[in-house]
Protein backbone atom coordinates (compact mmCIF):
# COMPACT_ATOMS: atom_id res chain seq x y z
CA UNK A 1 0.00 0.00 0.00
CA UNK A 2 1.35 3.32 -0.96
CA UNK A 3 1.27 6.13 1.48
CA UNK A 4 0.72 9.47 0.09
CA UNK A 5 3.49 12.00 0.72
CA UNK A 6 1.22 14.19 2.72
CA UNK A 7 0.60 11.42 5.20
CA UNK A 8 4.33 11.01 5.83
CA UNK A 9 4.84 14.56 6.92
CA UNK A 10 4.38 15.13 10.60
CA UNK A 11 3.70 18.55 11.73
CA UNK A 12 5.92 19.48 14.65
CA UNK A 13 4.57 21.80 17.26
CA UNK A 14 5.85 25.32 16.88
CA UNK A 15 8.49 26.04 19.49
CA UNK A 16 9.35 29.55 20.43
CA UNK A 17 13.06 30.12 20.59
CA UNK A 18 14.77 33.04 22.20
CA UNK A 19 17.59 34.53 20.24
CA UNK A 20 20.03 36.59 22.20
CA UNK A 21 20.05 39.60 20.01
CA UNK A 22 22.41 41.33 22.40
CA UNK A 23 25.20 39.05 21.23
CA UNK A 24 24.77 40.29 17.70
CA UNK A 25 24.66 43.97 18.47
CA UNK A 26 27.82 45.79 17.59
CA UNK A 27 29.94 47.45 20.25
CA UNK A 28 31.59 50.82 20.17
CA UNK A 29 35.13 51.31 21.34
CA UNK A 30 35.52 54.76 22.84
CA UNK A 31 38.50 56.85 23.80
CA UNK A 32 37.76 59.36 26.55
CA UNK A 33 39.47 62.66 27.15
CA UNK A 34 42.09 62.99 29.83
CA UNK A 35 44.30 65.96 30.59
CA UNK A 36 47.56 64.04 30.70
CA UNK A 37 47.95 62.02 27.51
CA UNK A 38 49.52 64.10 24.77
CA UNK A 39 47.39 64.79 21.72
CA UNK A 40 50.22 63.61 19.49
CA UNK A 41 50.34 60.34 21.45
CA UNK A 42 46.60 59.69 21.10
CA UNK A 43 46.93 60.25 17.36
CA UNK A 44 49.94 57.96 17.16
CA UNK A 45 48.24 55.10 18.98
CA UNK A 46 45.08 55.37 16.84
CA UNK A 47 47.24 55.18 13.72
CA UNK A 48 49.22 52.23 15.00
CA UNK A 49 46.36 50.23 16.42
CA UNK A 50 43.68 50.75 13.79
CA UNK A 51 45.86 51.61 10.80
CA UNK A 52 44.08 54.93 10.36
CA UNK A 53 45.52 57.69 8.23
CA UNK A 54 47.05 60.64 10.04
CA UNK A 55 44.06 62.76 9.04
CA UNK A 56 41.49 60.32 10.39
CA UNK A 57 43.43 59.67 13.59
CA UNK A 58 43.88 63.40 14.16
CA UNK A 59 40.16 64.01 13.58
CA UNK A 60 39.22 61.36 16.15
CA UNK A 61 41.79 62.72 18.60
CA UNK A 62 40.34 66.22 18.26
CA UNK A 63 36.87 64.84 18.89
CA UNK A 64 38.17 63.22 22.08
CA UNK A 65 39.72 66.51 23.11
CA UNK A 66 36.79 68.76 22.24
CA UNK A 67 33.75 66.56 22.91
CA UNK A 68 35.26 64.43 25.65
CA UNK A 69 34.85 61.12 23.85
CA UNK A 70 35.06 59.59 20.44
CA UNK A 71 33.94 56.30 18.96
CA UNK A 72 37.12 55.04 17.36
CA UNK A 73 35.88 51.64 16.22
CA UNK A 74 32.62 49.67 16.02
CA UNK A 75 32.19 45.94 15.59
CA UNK A 76 31.96 42.55 17.23
CA UNK A 77 32.30 42.37 20.99
CA UNK A 78 35.33 40.10 21.06
CA UNK A 79 37.29 42.43 18.82
CA UNK A 80 36.09 45.42 20.81
CA UNK A 81 37.46 43.83 23.98
CA UNK A 82 40.79 43.37 22.25
CA UNK A 83 40.94 47.00 21.15
CA UNK A 84 40.00 48.32 24.59
CA UNK A 85 42.72 46.15 26.09
CA UNK A 86 45.25 47.54 23.59
CA UNK A 87 44.22 51.14 24.22
CA UNK A 88 44.37 50.68 27.98
CA UNK A 89 47.76 49.01 27.69
CA UNK A 90 48.89 52.32 26.17
CA UNK A 91 47.29 54.10 29.14
CA UNK A 92 44.61 55.83 27.11
CA UNK A 93 41.23 56.17 28.84
CA UNK A 94 39.10 53.68 26.99
CA UNK A 95 35.84 51.79 27.35
CA UNK A 96 33.42 49.82 25.20
CA UNK A 97 29.67 50.14 25.07
CA UNK A 98 26.86 48.47 23.21
CA UNK A 99 25.66 50.40 20.20
CA UNK A 100 22.39 52.10 21.03
CA UNK A 101 19.95 50.88 18.39
CA UNK A 102 17.04 52.93 19.64
Amino acid sequence: MNRTPSAAIETLPEVETETDEALDLPWNVLVLNDPVNLMSYVTLILRRLFGYSEEKAAKLMLEVHQVGRSVVWTGAREQAEFYVQQLQSHQLLSIMEKVDES
Binding site: A22, N33, D34, P35, V36, N37, L38, S40, Y41, L44, R47, R48, E54, H65, E81, V84, Q85, Q88, S89, H90, Q91, L93, S94, I95, M96, E97, K98
Partner: protein, 222 residues
Protein backbone atom coordinates in the same frame (compact mmCIF):
# COMPACT_ATOMS: atom_id res chain seq x y z
CA UNK B 1 69.28 68.89 29.04
CA UNK B 2 69.36 68.06 25.39
CA UNK B 3 67.74 65.15 23.65
CA UNK B 4 69.54 63.73 20.67
CA UNK B 5 69.13 60.96 18.20
CA UNK B 6 72.49 59.23 18.38
CA UNK B 7 72.09 56.85 15.46
CA UNK B 8 69.77 54.21 14.07
CA UNK B 9 69.91 52.20 17.27
CA UNK B 10 69.88 54.72 20.06
CA UNK B 11 68.90 58.11 21.35
CA UNK B 12 69.79 59.85 24.53
CA UNK B 13 70.23 62.77 26.86
CA UNK B 14 73.24 65.06 26.85
CA UNK B 15 74.11 68.13 28.90
CA UNK B 16 72.19 66.72 31.85
CA UNK B 17 72.69 68.71 35.02
CA UNK B 18 72.84 67.02 38.38
CA UNK B 19 69.25 68.05 39.05
CA UNK B 20 68.08 66.72 35.71
CA UNK B 21 69.66 63.34 36.38
CA UNK B 22 67.73 63.39 39.65
CA UNK B 23 64.58 64.20 37.73
CA UNK B 24 65.04 61.08 35.60
CA UNK B 25 65.82 58.99 38.66
CA UNK B 26 62.54 60.18 40.16
CA UNK B 27 60.50 58.50 37.40
CA UNK B 28 60.21 55.30 39.41
CA UNK B 29 58.85 57.01 42.51
CA UNK B 30 56.56 59.26 40.51
CA UNK B 31 55.06 56.27 38.66
CA UNK B 32 54.24 54.40 41.86
CA UNK B 33 50.50 54.33 42.55
CA UNK B 34 50.95 53.19 46.16
CA UNK B 35 48.66 55.01 48.55
CA UNK B 36 46.67 56.76 45.84
CA UNK B 37 43.45 55.03 44.90
CA UNK B 38 42.64 57.64 42.28
CA UNK B 39 45.89 56.91 40.47
CA UNK B 40 45.30 53.18 40.81
CA UNK B 41 41.85 53.56 39.25
CA UNK B 42 43.23 55.67 36.42
CA UNK B 43 46.03 53.27 35.53
CA UNK B 44 44.04 50.05 35.96
CA UNK B 45 40.72 50.82 34.32
CA UNK B 46 37.46 49.01 33.80
CA UNK B 47 36.37 48.24 30.22
CA UNK B 48 32.76 49.28 30.80
CA UNK B 49 31.38 52.46 32.31
CA UNK B 50 28.43 51.09 34.21
CA UNK B 51 28.87 47.35 34.32
CA UNK B 52 26.75 46.86 31.21
CA UNK B 53 23.33 45.38 31.81
CA UNK B 54 24.17 44.09 35.25
CA UNK B 55 25.23 40.70 33.94
CA UNK B 56 28.82 41.67 33.36
CA UNK B 57 30.19 40.95 36.82
CA UNK B 58 32.15 37.93 35.65
CA UNK B 59 33.58 39.80 32.68
CA UNK B 60 34.66 42.70 34.88
CA UNK B 61 36.13 40.37 37.45
CA UNK B 62 38.10 38.52 34.79
CA UNK B 63 39.30 41.85 33.40
CA UNK B 64 40.67 42.77 36.81
CA UNK B 65 42.21 39.37 37.37
CA UNK B 66 43.84 38.90 34.00
CA UNK B 67 44.01 42.07 31.94
CA UNK B 68 44.84 44.51 34.71
CA UNK B 69 47.25 42.04 36.27
CA UNK B 70 49.10 41.79 32.96
CA UNK B 71 49.18 45.60 32.80
CA UNK B 72 50.63 45.66 36.30
CA UNK B 73 53.52 43.49 35.14
CA UNK B 74 53.94 45.44 31.90
CA UNK B 75 54.03 48.84 33.58
CA UNK B 76 56.36 47.67 36.34
CA UNK B 77 58.65 46.15 33.73
CA UNK B 78 58.80 49.45 31.84
CA UNK B 79 59.85 51.31 34.96
CA UNK B 80 62.47 48.66 35.67
CA UNK B 81 63.93 49.08 32.17
CA UNK B 82 64.22 52.83 32.74
CA UNK B 83 65.82 52.29 36.12
CA UNK B 84 68.35 49.87 34.63
CA UNK B 85 69.21 52.29 31.81
CA UNK B 86 69.84 55.03 34.33
CA UNK B 87 72.75 53.05 35.73
CA UNK B 88 74.57 54.04 32.55
CA UNK B 89 74.55 57.77 33.21
CA UNK B 90 78.11 59.02 32.72
CA UNK B 91 79.75 62.33 33.28
CA UNK B 92 80.50 64.22 30.10
CA UNK B 93 84.16 64.81 29.53
CA UNK B 94 85.08 68.47 29.50
CA UNK B 95 86.02 69.61 26.06
CA UNK B 96 89.61 70.42 26.95
CA UNK B 97 90.04 67.03 28.58
CA UNK B 98 88.62 65.34 25.55
CA UNK B 99 90.87 67.33 23.28
CA UNK B 100 93.93 66.57 25.38
CA UNK B 101 93.52 62.92 26.08
CA UNK B 102 94.67 61.92 22.63
CA UNK B 103 92.59 58.78 22.47
CA UNK B 104 90.41 60.16 19.72
CA UNK B 105 87.30 59.43 21.68
CA UNK B 106 86.06 62.87 22.53
CA UNK B 107 82.51 61.73 23.19
CA UNK B 108 83.25 59.28 25.92
CA UNK B 109 82.71 60.35 29.49
CA UNK B 110 85.03 58.64 31.89
CA UNK B 111 83.44 59.31 35.25
CA UNK B 112 80.38 57.54 36.44
CA UNK B 113 77.54 59.56 37.82
CA UNK B 114 78.18 60.15 41.49
CA UNK B 115 75.06 60.50 43.59
CA UNK B 116 77.13 62.09 46.34
CA UNK B 117 78.46 64.75 43.99
CA UNK B 118 78.82 68.13 45.66
CA UNK B 119 79.57 71.13 43.48
CA UNK B 120 82.77 73.01 44.21
CA UNK B 121 82.55 76.68 45.19
CA UNK B 122 83.36 77.65 41.61
CA UNK B 123 80.66 75.34 40.29
CA UNK B 124 78.19 76.67 42.84
CA UNK B 125 78.67 80.34 41.95
CA UNK B 126 79.03 79.63 38.26
CA UNK B 127 76.58 76.94 37.17
CA UNK B 128 78.14 76.86 33.72
CA UNK B 129 81.20 75.29 35.27
CA UNK B 130 79.18 72.45 36.79
CA UNK B 131 79.65 69.04 35.29
CA UNK B 132 77.16 67.58 32.87
CA UNK B 133 76.10 64.01 32.34
CA UNK B 134 74.82 62.02 29.46
CA UNK B 135 72.84 58.86 28.93
CA UNK B 136 72.42 56.71 25.84
CA UNK B 137 69.19 54.72 25.46
CA UNK B 138 68.73 51.81 23.05
CA UNK B 139 65.93 52.36 20.56
CA UNK B 140 64.50 49.04 21.73
CA UNK B 141 63.78 50.64 25.12
CA UNK B 142 61.84 53.61 23.72
CA UNK B 143 58.37 52.21 24.39
CA UNK B 144 59.34 51.43 27.98
CA UNK B 145 60.68 54.94 28.49
CA UNK B 146 57.57 56.50 27.02
CA UNK B 147 55.30 54.23 29.06
CA UNK B 148 57.13 54.90 32.31
CA UNK B 149 57.05 58.65 31.71
CA UNK B 150 53.36 58.44 30.89
CA UNK B 151 52.60 56.43 33.98
CA UNK B 152 54.58 58.90 36.08
CA UNK B 153 52.60 61.82 34.65
CA UNK B 154 49.25 60.07 35.17
CA UNK B 155 50.10 59.23 38.78
CA UNK B 156 51.48 62.69 39.51
CA UNK B 157 48.34 64.27 38.08
CA UNK B 158 46.09 62.07 40.20
CA UNK B 159 48.11 62.22 43.43
CA UNK B 160 48.76 65.97 43.37
CA UNK B 161 45.56 67.06 41.59
CA UNK B 162 47.50 68.75 38.82
CA UNK B 163 44.46 69.15 36.59
CA UNK B 164 40.89 70.37 36.82
CA UNK B 165 39.33 69.08 33.67
CA UNK B 166 41.71 70.09 30.92
CA UNK B 167 43.09 72.99 32.90
CA UNK B 168 46.22 72.88 35.00
CA UNK B 169 45.75 73.51 38.71
CA UNK B 170 49.18 75.04 39.04
CA UNK B 171 50.74 77.57 36.75
CA UNK B 172 53.37 80.22 36.43
CA UNK B 173 52.40 83.84 35.94
CA UNK B 174 54.75 86.63 35.11
CA UNK B 175 54.63 89.58 37.46
CA UNK B 176 56.70 92.74 37.73
CA UNK B 177 58.89 90.90 40.23
CA UNK B 178 59.33 87.96 37.91
CA UNK B 179 57.68 84.55 37.57
CA UNK B 180 55.26 83.57 40.31
CA UNK B 181 53.66 80.21 41.08
CA UNK B 182 49.88 80.34 41.05
CA UNK B 183 47.75 77.63 42.64
CA UNK B 184 44.27 77.71 41.14
CA UNK B 185 42.37 75.45 43.52
CA UNK B 186 41.97 74.83 47.23
CA UNK B 187 43.22 71.24 47.34
CA UNK B 188 45.06 70.70 50.62
CA UNK B 189 45.81 66.99 50.39
CA UNK B 190 49.44 67.68 49.51
CA UNK B 191 51.72 70.59 50.31
CA UNK B 192 52.01 73.40 47.79
CA UNK B 193 55.75 72.72 47.51
CA UNK B 194 55.16 69.09 46.62
CA UNK B 195 52.46 70.01 44.14
CA UNK B 196 54.70 72.56 42.44
CA UNK B 197 57.49 70.00 42.29
CA UNK B 198 55.05 67.48 40.76
CA UNK B 199 53.88 70.12 38.28
CA UNK B 200 57.40 70.71 36.99
CA UNK B 201 58.15 67.00 36.83
CA UNK B 202 54.97 66.55 34.82
CA UNK B 203 56.08 69.29 32.43
CA UNK B 204 59.59 67.92 32.05
CA UNK B 205 58.45 64.35 31.46
CA UNK B 206 55.92 65.62 28.92
CA UNK B 207 58.67 67.47 27.10
CA UNK B 208 60.67 64.24 26.76
CA UNK B 209 57.56 62.43 25.56
CA UNK B 210 56.87 65.03 22.86
CA UNK B 211 60.42 64.66 21.60
CA UNK B 212 60.18 60.86 21.56
CA UNK B 213 56.98 60.95 19.54
CA UNK B 214 58.31 63.35 16.93
CA UNK B 215 61.86 62.02 16.65
CA UNK B 216 61.69 58.31 17.42
CA UNK B 217 58.26 56.75 17.75
CA UNK B 218 56.65 58.02 14.55
CA UNK B 219 59.17 56.25 12.36
CA UNK B 220 57.66 53.84 9.91
CA UNK B 221 54.24 55.49 9.88
CA UNK B 222 53.44 56.96 6.52
Amino acid sequence: MKLIRIGPDSWGFTRLSEDEVGLLRDIRGAADTAGCQEAENRIYQKPLVDGGDGDEEEFLSDWDDFVNESFREQFLSAVSVVEADLINVVREAEEEDAADDGDGDEHEGSEDFDEEFEPSFEEFVNPESQPYFRLEIPIAHTEEWFGALNQARLVLSARYRLHQGDDESIGVEWTEEGPAIVVKDDFTGESVEDRVDAHFKNQAYGFVQEWLISEVMSEGLS
